[in-house]
C-alpha cells in the first residue's frame, strides 16, 4: 500500500489505496478495475484467461507474475512472523487504520501504533523506509 501510494505520487497520479480492499472503489490507476478483478479471480482459484484480451498478453503475464510472487511473499511474512519495518509502520499508520489492516492477526507481530505514538501517516524518506 505504501508503494502503491508512493509510485502513484511519483507520476502525479491519483491512486486510492482503498482499492486494495476491493469493492466499488475507483483505484485511480489505469486499468485498475481489470487489475483488481484479475487479482480477485486469481485468489478465488478461477480462470483469469478472459483478462488477456483487456490487458494484452504482456500485461497479463506481468499481472500473473505479481499475483504469483505475492502469494509467496505473504506466506513468507506470515510464517516467519516478521514485524513491519519501522519506516513503513510510521508511514502507514493512518492507511492501516483506514483499511482495517490492523485487525489482521499478523498485526500482533509489530508494536501497536499507539505504543509508538503514531497517529496518521508520517512523511518519510522512502529510501530509509525499510531500514
Amino acid at each position: 500500500m505504501l508503494l502503491l501510494r508512493a509510485s502513484s505520487d511519483a507520476i502525479n497520479g491519483q491512486a486510492d489505496i482503498e482499492a486494495a480492499n476491493g469493492g466499488d472503489v475507483d483505484s485511480g490507476v489505469k486499468l485498475g478495475d481489470q487489475l483488481v478483478s484479475f487479482s480477485e479471480t486469481a485468489h478465488a482459484g478461477q480462470s483469469v484467461a478472459a483478462f488477456q484480451a483487456a490487458l494484452g498478453p504482456a500485461a497479463f503475464v506481468e499481472a500473473a507474475a505479481t499475483v504469483a510472487i505475492f502469494n509467496g511473499l505473504v506466506r513468507t511474512a506470515d510464517a516467519s512472523g516478521i514485524p513491519l519495518d519501522a519506516g513503513t509502520q510510521m508511514a502507514t499508520a493512518g492507511d492501516r487504520d483506514t483499511l482495517g489492516i490492523n485487525a489482521y492477526s499478523g498485526a500482533g507481530n509489530s508494536p501497536s501504533d499507539a505504543a509508538l505514538g503514531l497517529d496518521g501517516n508520517a512523511a518519510i524518506d522512502l529510501h530509509t523506509a525499510f531500514d
Binding site: 500500500m1 508512493a6 486494495a20 499481472a63 499475483v67 504469483a68 506470515d78 516478521i82 492477526s105 499478523g106
Partner: protein
C-alpha cells in the same frame, strides 16, 4: 550454480510464449533444481515431499478445524500439517502455533519448510494463471543436509531468528536462517517483481506501470489478510 532446463516458452502457448520474459523461466529452472537438492535441514527427497505437499494442500471445508499440533503423532505429520496451513490459511498463523511446531521439528526444519513452500507455490501459481500445466518436480539429488545455523543470526523481533544487523525490508531477511534458500527465493522475487529497481518508483521497462503492479500486489496481500 547449474540448473536443469525444464520450463520453455513454447509450453505457454503461442501468444504468451512471445512475451514471457526469459528471466522468469531461468528463475523457475533454478528453483526446480535447487528444491531437489539437499538443504541445511532436509534431504533432497524430503524437500520434494514438502513440494508435493504444497500441491496436495486443500482448504478446509467451512467449519472444519485443523488438528492441534499436540494431536499430530509424528514429525512428518507436523511437517505436512504445517505445509497445509501455510499454503491454505497463512493469515491465521499465530506465535503460539509457531512455538508448538518449532518445539516439535526445530527452527531449522521449520525455516526450510517455509522456504520450500514459498519457492514452489509462486511457480505453480504462475503456471496455473497462464494456463500452463504444472511441471513435475525433478528427481531428488542424493546427499545429506549440511546443517548448521549461519553466523550473524539473532532474535530481532520476528518469530524466526534473522540475519542481524541488516539494511532492507524485513521480508528480505525473513528466511535468512536458511540463507541458500533465502537467496534463491529472493532471486524469484527479483525475476517476477522488482528486478534491480525496487527503490525506483517509476518503472518504464515493463507492460505495467509500477502503480499497476502495486495495485495487484496490494489487492493480493489484502485478500490473503497479510498485515506486513
Amino acid at each position: 550454480m547449474t540448473s536443469t532446463a525444464v520450463f520453455s516458452p513454447g509450453s505457454f502457448g503461442e501468444t504468451l510464449a512471445a512475451v514471457i520474459p526469459a528471466g522468469y523461466l531461468a528463475a523457475f529452472d533454478e528453483i526446480w533444481s535447487h528444491v531437489a537438492r539437499p538443504g541445511r535441514w532436509f534431504t533432497g527427497a524430503e524437500r520434494i515431499e514438502i513440494a508435493e505437499a504444497v500441491r496436495a494442500a486443500t482448504p478446509l471445508r467451512l467449519g472444519e478445524q485443523p488438528p492441534a499440533v499436540g494431536e499430530l503423532t509424528t514429525d512428518q505429520d507436523v511437517i505436512l500439517d504445517t505445509v497445509q496451513r501455510i499454503v491454505t490459511d497463512p493469515g491465521r498463523l499465530s506465535r503460539e502455533w509457531f512455538d508448538e511446531v518449532t518445539g516439535r521439528i526445530g527452527l531449522g526444519r521449520y525455516a526450510e519448510l517455509v522456504a520450500v513452500v514459498v519457492q514452489v507455490l509462486p511457480v505453480d501459481r504462475f503456471c496455473d494463471l497462464t494456463g500452463r500445466k504444472r511441471e513435475p518436480f525433478l528427481a531428488p539429488v542424493a546427499g545429506e543436509p549440511t546443517g548448521g545455523v549461519p553466523d550473524g543470526i539473532a532474535d530481532d523481533g520476528a518469530w524466526l531468528p534473522m540475519r542481524t544487523p541488516f539494511r532492507g525490508p524485513n521480508v528480505a531477511r525473513a528466511l535468512s536462517y536458511v540463507p541458500e534458500d533465502n537467496m534463491m527465493r529472493l532471486g524469484l522475487v527479483r525475476a517476477l517483481y522488482s528486478g534491480d529497481r525496487f527503490g525506483d518508483m517509476i518503472w518504464e521497462a515493463g507492460a505495467l506501470s509500477r502503480p499497476q503492479v502495486e495495485l495487484v500486489a496490494a489487492r493480493t496481500s489484502s485478500l490473503n489478510e497479510c498485515f506486513y
